[in-house]
Amino acid sequence: MGRRLSDLFHSHPRLQVGGLLAGPVGWLVIGYIGSLVVILITAFWQVNALSGEVEQTFTLDNFQTLVDEPVYRSIAGRTIAIAALVTITDALLAFPIAFYMAKVASSRMKAVLVVAVLLPLWASYLVKVYAWRTILSSGGILNEFLDPFGVSGPGYGNVAVWLVMSYLWLPFMIIPIYAGLERIPDSVISASEDLGASPMTTFRRVILPLAFPAVVAGSIFTFSLTLGDYITPALVSNNQFIGNVVYNNIVNNQPLASAFVMVPVAVMIIYLLIARRLGAFEHL
C-alpha cells in the first residue's frame, strides 16, 4: 500500500505538491479569505432590532444606507485622507533614516539602528497610544514645552490622530525602504558619479527610481494599518473613523458593519493593484 502510494506520487508530481500544500493553502482559504467572504455575505443580510440577531434574507439596504447618509461618506473620506497623510509623512521621515542605515552607517551602527527602529514594536500598542494621550493633553508635556513660545499643541483631534499614527507605523515604512536601498549596489551609485552626475541627479535619476517600489511596499503597511485602526482615533480624538463605526455596530447591526468594511477592502484592492503595477511586490 505504502509502496503503491509512493509510486503514485512519483508518477504524478503535481499530486505530490498538492498534498504538501493542502494544509497551508486550506488554512489560507478558510481562515483568511473565508472570513472575508463571510463578511461579504453578511453585508447583504439584515438584523433583528431587539436581539441583534442576523436574519438571513437578501437585502441591499445596508449599502443604500451607506450611500444615502452623508455621515458615512464623510467618515470614509476622513479615514482615507488620514491614511494617505500618514503614509506620505512616514515615507518622508523613513527615507533619510533608511538611506543612512543602508548606505552611510558602519555595520555596527547599522545593527544598533535596526534594533532601535524595531524596539518600539515590542512595547504594547495601547501603552504607546496612552503615552501620546498624555503628551497631547492640554496640561501635557507638549504644551508645557510650547508654552514659553506662546503657542499651544494641537490637542485631541485629527492632527493628533495623524501624529500618533505616523509614529506608530513608522517602523513598517523604514524596514522595507531599508531593504530596498540595501539591494542597490554601491557600484551603480559610483558609476553615476563617475559619469558626472551631481549628487542630486544621482539621487533623482538612479536611487529614487530603484528604491521607489520599496517605498510603495512600505506604504501598503502604513496605509492599511491606518485604514483599519479604531483605538487611536477613540483615544486621541472625538472623530469617528471607519473602524469606530464598525466597532459601534458590530454588536447590534453586524450587516451594516460588514457593508462598511467593504469600503476599506475595496480601497485596499485598488491600492494593491496600483502597487503591483509599480513593482512593489518584489520588495515585500
Partner: protein, 414 residues
Amino acid sequence: MRNKGGRSARTAWIVVVGLLAFMVAFAAGCGGDDDSSSDESEALSEVGEPEGQVDLIAWAGYVEDGSTDPKVDWVTDFEKESGCEVNVKVAGTSDEMIELMRTGQYDGVSASGNASPRLVEGGDVAPVNVDLVPNYESVFEDLKDQPYNTFDGVNYGIPHGRGANLLMWNKETVDTDGKSWSVILDPKEAAKYDGRISIYDDPVYIADAALYLKAHQPDLGIEDPYELDEEQFNAAVDLLKQQRPYIGEYWFDFAKQISSFANGDVDVGTTWQYQYFTLLGEDEPVASTPASEGFLPEEDATGWSDTWMISNEAEHPNCMYMWMDHIISPEANAKVAAWFGEAPAQSEACAEFKNLDPAYFGAPNHCELYNADNPEFWSRVYYWDTPLADCGDDRGEECMDYNDWVSAWTEIKG
C-alpha cells in the same frame, strides 16, 4: 513565462473551488447554529460542587478584590469560603458587555437595562432559579420582577443595585449649582464651555437629551425617554447635534474620563459615581449635584438598575450562583454600594454600613442618603432601557428602535 502564467491560473481555480466548498460548509454550519440557539434553556435546579473559578463581566468598581486598594475587597473572602477563584473583565458600555457575553467565555454579567432584554432575546443568558439564592428573599421588593430582570414571568437575574447618572463639573472653572442639565444641554450655556464638555459615548445618551426636552419642551409630549416616536426622537437628536461642537471628549472608558478631568482637558459632563468619587479621592476640584438631592438635577436623570445574569453556556454555573448570592449578601452588597456610590439592592445591607470603615465606605446612613428604600424617589430615575419599535402605549409600533438610536448616534458624532 507563459507556462508560469498558466500554472498560476490553475492555482487560482483551485482557490475558487476551495472557496465554494467553504461557503457551502459555512451555510450548512449556520443552519446548525440557529437550531441550537433557539433551544430554551432551563434554570439550575440545585447548586452543586464549586468548579474552582468564575469568570465575570462587570462595571468598574463592582468586583473589587483589594487590588485597587487593599481595604476595598469583597472578593477575597468569597474566594476562600466558596473555593471559586474570581476573574473579572471590566466593560465600559452595555454593547461591550453583550459582545463579551456572546464569546461564551464568561459565566455571568452585571447587565443594565439596555443590555438585559437583548441578552435574553439573543439567548445569551439562562433563567435564574431565585430559590437557589437565599439572600434574594430580602432584596427590596421594588427591584424584584421588573421588566429589565424578568421576562414573560421568568426570572433572569439577581438585582445588584441602582443609581442615577451624574452631572459633574470642575468647581474652579465651571459656574453652576448642578440644579439643571442645561449647563451641558442648553446650547447657549454649553457654548461657554466650548471643547470642555465630556459626554458618555453610547447611543443611550440620546435618552438624556429626551429627558431634558421632557422638562423644557412639554409640547413634545415625551413620557418615557426610551420610547420616542419620530418627532420626539428627532428633537432629541437635534439637541445633541447642537451640543456636538462644544464637546471636548466622548468617553466610554471610565479611566479615560478620570484622566481627562484630572489633566484639565475637560471641565463638565456626564459621569458615574465611580469616577466622581475616585476624582474626589485624588483631591481634584470636582463637584456634582448634591447627594442630599439624590444627585438629581431638576429635570431628573437617567440611571441604571443592574442585574447579575448567568450565561447560557456558563462553564462554572455553581460558582456563578454562589457569586450571585454573595454579591447581594448584606456585607458585600453594602460594600459595593458604598464604594461605587449607589443604592444597595439588599434591604439588610442598610444595617451594615455602620460597621464599615468610613474612610472607604462613606456614611452609616448610606441607605437614607441614597434613597435605597424610597420607591417614590426612583420614579424620578429613568433606568437604562432598550428602545423598541413598540412604544408600549397607544401609539403602537411608532417608536424608534435601537438600530435607529445607533445610527443616529453615529450621525450625531459625525
